[in-house]
Amino acid sequence: MQYENEMKIEFMSKSQNEAFARVVVAAFVSQLDPTLEELSDIKTAVSEAVTNAVIHGYENGPGMIYLACRLEGNETYIEIQDKGKGIEDIKQAMEPLYTSKPELERSGMGFTVMETFMDVVEVRSIPGEGTTVYMMKRLHSV
């Protein structure tokens, strides 16, 4: 039978929780015994998505971030959701180097990093309601 496991957590939208989120996901995915490279790919992608929720979704204000991680065979599915302001133009937001907040010295590389390090990245967003980032990575080491 195919291996299966799932976890869900929610935490406050605080920059401190960026490290918390990526470490939690890495710990959970570790049961599949991925390579260090696969693990750091996932950690980096999670860090980018949670950072986006903190800075852009909630604009550094209060809110909760919902994180789910599901393991199916050698596939890792990660979902990161905020109920913040949402994205008007997802295509533009995902363009390399685009940032809606240049004053913050952001590189605009968040989505590019996610897309490079994960096999699938999908973004769904409704302005005024929030944003969900779905990501999948196939672990070749498993």
């Binding site: 920059s15 750091s40 950072t51 800075i55 010295e105 590189s107 590389m109 390090f117």
Partner: protein
């Protein structure tokens, strides 16, 4: 100026980091910056923003920025960012010092 950072660079840590670097940069009236990445186990794209901003400050003074001792994960974030077009990467601090002089 040689900057050795210990710890992870993400959005959370980058704000204090930026402030510390800029203060030191001003205090020592430095021109070139060498970042020693040997003790940075993790960096996301927030770190790219930090390096880009420091590059801007340094180039205004006619200086250059170099990075040494990159871990493989961070190396890949750097490659993606295209920063290698403006920032030099060296294996050791000595090598970077020689090139910047």
């Amino acid at each position: 100026m040689i900057i050795k950072i210990q710890g992870e660079i993400d959005h959370h840590t980058s704000e204090a980091l930026r402030e510390k670097i800029d203060k030191a940069y001003e205090r020592y009236n430095a021109k070139n910056i060498i970042f020693d990445f040997s003790e940075i186990p993790f960096m996301d794209s927030s770190g790219i923003g930090v390096i880009m901003g420091r590059y801007r400050n340094s180039s205004q003074k006619g200086g250059q920025v170099a990075i040494v001792h990159l871990q493989p994960q961070i190396e890949r974030v750097f490659q993606l960012s295209g920063l290698y077009k403006i920032i030099h990467r060296y294996e050791t601090i000595d090598e970077a010092l020689k090139m910047l002089q």
